[in-house]
């Protein structure tokens, strides 16, 4: 756990519910994004399967930012924001690339695309998260991932409130 935190080079701001990082355009960033998402999702009360889905979605978004957005350019950064709003975990990944035209990404489930070796990242992100927004930002592309909290801790709070009532 401490190794994961040390691997993160720069922390912009850190409060109880919000974490922001600026990372280099490297494969290490992809792993860091995944590990950080996994830790924050677990802390937010998601169960093991949901933690895996969230961390995989963040990994795929980070891959897009590093490879397709910033194209490994050492002068370009990836910005990663995690915000826990109680009922929602909101994760935003921004790159400094040329933009992503989602409409041009072929449907990976179409029979003619099933044997393609790439093009499943956005599909997996959409499959694993409750809401996904992809839009141009001032500097490149911004992808926002939202997962509603249904984990044991959230459920536990609901249950105990009902019990108190």
């Amino acid at each position: 756990m401490f190794q994961t935190r040390r691997a993160i080079p720069r922390i912009f701001a850190m409060t109880d519910s919000r974490f922001s990082y600026t990372l280099d355009s490297t494969l290490e960033t992809v792993d860091t994004a995944e590990q950080t998402a996994s830790r924050i999702a677990a802390d937010a009360g998601f169960d093991e399967d949901e933690v895996m889905r969230i961390s995989m979605a963040v990994r795929e978004a980070a891959v897009n930012a590093v490879l397709h957005g910033n194209a490994y350019d050492p002068n370009k950064k990836v910005r990663l924001d995690f915000e826990n709003r109680g009922r929602d975990l909101i994760i935003t990944i921004r790159d400094q690339g040329c933009g992503l035209d989602v409409s041009r990404i072929p449907d990976p489930l179409a029979p003619e695309n099933l044997l393609k070796t790439s093009g499943r990242g956005i599909f997996l992100i959409r499959s694993f998260m409750d809401e996904v927004q992809i839009r141009p930002s001032q500097t490149g592309t911004e992808i926002q991932l939202i997962k509603h909290v249904h984990g044991p801790s959230a459920g536990g709070k609901e249950a105990s409130r009902e019990h108190e009532d």
């Binding site: 490879l67 489930l109 997996l124």
Partner: protein, 114 residues
């Protein structure tokens, strides 16, 4: 945990035991190189044992597809053995479960190549 691969021969079939993660970078490259080496030795009946693979990302999925199509193009066959629930679910949602021949018993999987 990075990916580890070892190979063994059973009745003319090459069983590739994989463990760890098949992800962008090291894991995908290791798998690709292994398949290329096997084809170079005309070992074209390949059974990928994924029982100890606990994580695959979209690049890893792409690498499995690439290995499958590469082997098929050379007249061979590549099948999957012992999927974990996570990998099974990934192949289901990407509709690849019907593309690959998936086995859960090594002996019958080996026999199915002949």
């Amino acid at each position: 945990m990075s990916m580890k691969i070892s190979t063994r021969q059973v009745d003319g079939v090459t069983i590739v035991d994989c463990s760890g993660r098949i992800t962008l970078g090291e894991g995908s490259v290791t798998l690709r190189e292994t398949v290329v080496q096997l084809l170079g030795k005309s070992q074209k009946k390949i059974l990928l044992n994924l029982g100890d693979v606990n994580y695959i990302d979209s690049s890893g999925i792409g690498e499995l597809v690439s290995a499958f199509t590469t082997v098929r193009k050379q007249g061979g066959d590549l099948k999957l053995l012992n999927l974990t629930k996570k990998v099974h679910d990934l192949l289901q949602i990407t509709k690849l479960y019907t593309v690959f021949e998936v086995k859960d018993d090594e002996a019958s999987a080996v026999k199915s190549f002949n």
